[in-house]
Assembly symmetry: C2
Homo-oligomer: 192 residues x 2
């Protein structure tokens, strides 16, 4: 059972991550730890207890985003859907689920994303997350051609956000529909 | 006709860009302008005459890469190919043309790419290049579904490089074959 101390620690950590997102949205990725502590209403010592450095704080933010994405995939897994491609469908729906990015402008700011990827630990996290996703989606019963194009399109979406060229709502909806349609069959798309 | 002075300027600029690539490969993206000047065999004043700042030098490197990519697309345009998708085919072949990245480890280093994208001018260049590519490839006679998946897969390839998960030679070859095959027809891939 979680102790009161443990619950407090979880709550403080959450306050710090939320505070960091707000502080970065307001001041940019170069924001100081002091500003983050102030924004979170936590002492500087309290911050350093949870995150020993700015890099650790940024890594913590990315970790939290990944946990939120994983939870969204689980939420979008349809228990009644046992056909090939069920995980791909959940993954696509999670990608286009606006709740994952919450109201965090922070995940839509190219300057923030490049600052995050500049942290070695974040890059390592991103690499592992990418490899794990590829592995899981490849084992979902669809033809490799379909998986390759779906994963590529989802990565491409991140790239567009990174470049500051995100698709508009209509383009997003069309892409989601196209990718979901690709999961509906498992034969090769093109004869090679 | 180009004067001797103009030719010298072009040669010095090229020496500086090559020197920057070598210096960054050796010392990382945080390399000093002094180190770049030394590597290029150009005086610091000469460097500053061509590139007024580190950011301008990085933007110059990206500009040169883009010019090299554009030249590769032109080279891969098949004059005998007048079918829909001819520009997409040239674009795909240029993307998988190892000569575009030359022996520049610099374009394969995630730390370098994120440092580059952290420069506002570079991000602007990348955004315009991305928008222009999308516009051109969309007007190439293929069904939008095909263009979307091809562009997504190419962006996804950049993303994998950025994450330090580049595909191996066999995966690259398979992806190139798949994308080229997608350009061979212009009907919708899936009924939506």
């Amino acid at each position: 059972m979680a102790t009161a101390t443990h619950r407090d620690a979880v709550r403080t950590r959450k306050a710090l991550l939320d505070g960091a997102a707000r502080a970065i949205t307001r001041h940019g990725a170069a924001v100081s730890l002091d500003a983050v502590a102030r924004e979170a209403g936590v002492s500087k010592g309290g911050l350093l207890h949870h995150f020993r450095s700015k890099d650790a704080l940024l890594a913590g933010m990315v970790e939290e985003w990944m946990a939120r994405f994983d939870a969204a995939v689980q939420r979008h897994l349809d228990p009644g859907d046992l056909r090939p491609g069920r995980l791909c469908r959940a993954h696509i729906r999670a990608t286009f689920d606006d709740d994952v990015d919450l109201d965090d402008e922070v995940w839509r700011d190219p300057a923030v994303i490049t600052a995050l990827l500049g942290v070695p630990e974040v890059l390592r996290q991103a690499r592992e997350f990418d490899l794990r996703s590829r592995r899981q989606l490849s084992a979902d019963g669809l033809h490799p051609q379909r998986v390759e194009l779906i994963v590529g399109a989802l990565d491409g979406l991140v790239m567009r956000q990174l470049f500051g060229n995100p698709p508009d709502a209509a383009e997003r909806a069309a892409l989601a529909t196209l990718l979901l349609a690709l999961t509906e069959r498992s034969d090769p798309l093109v004869a090679i």
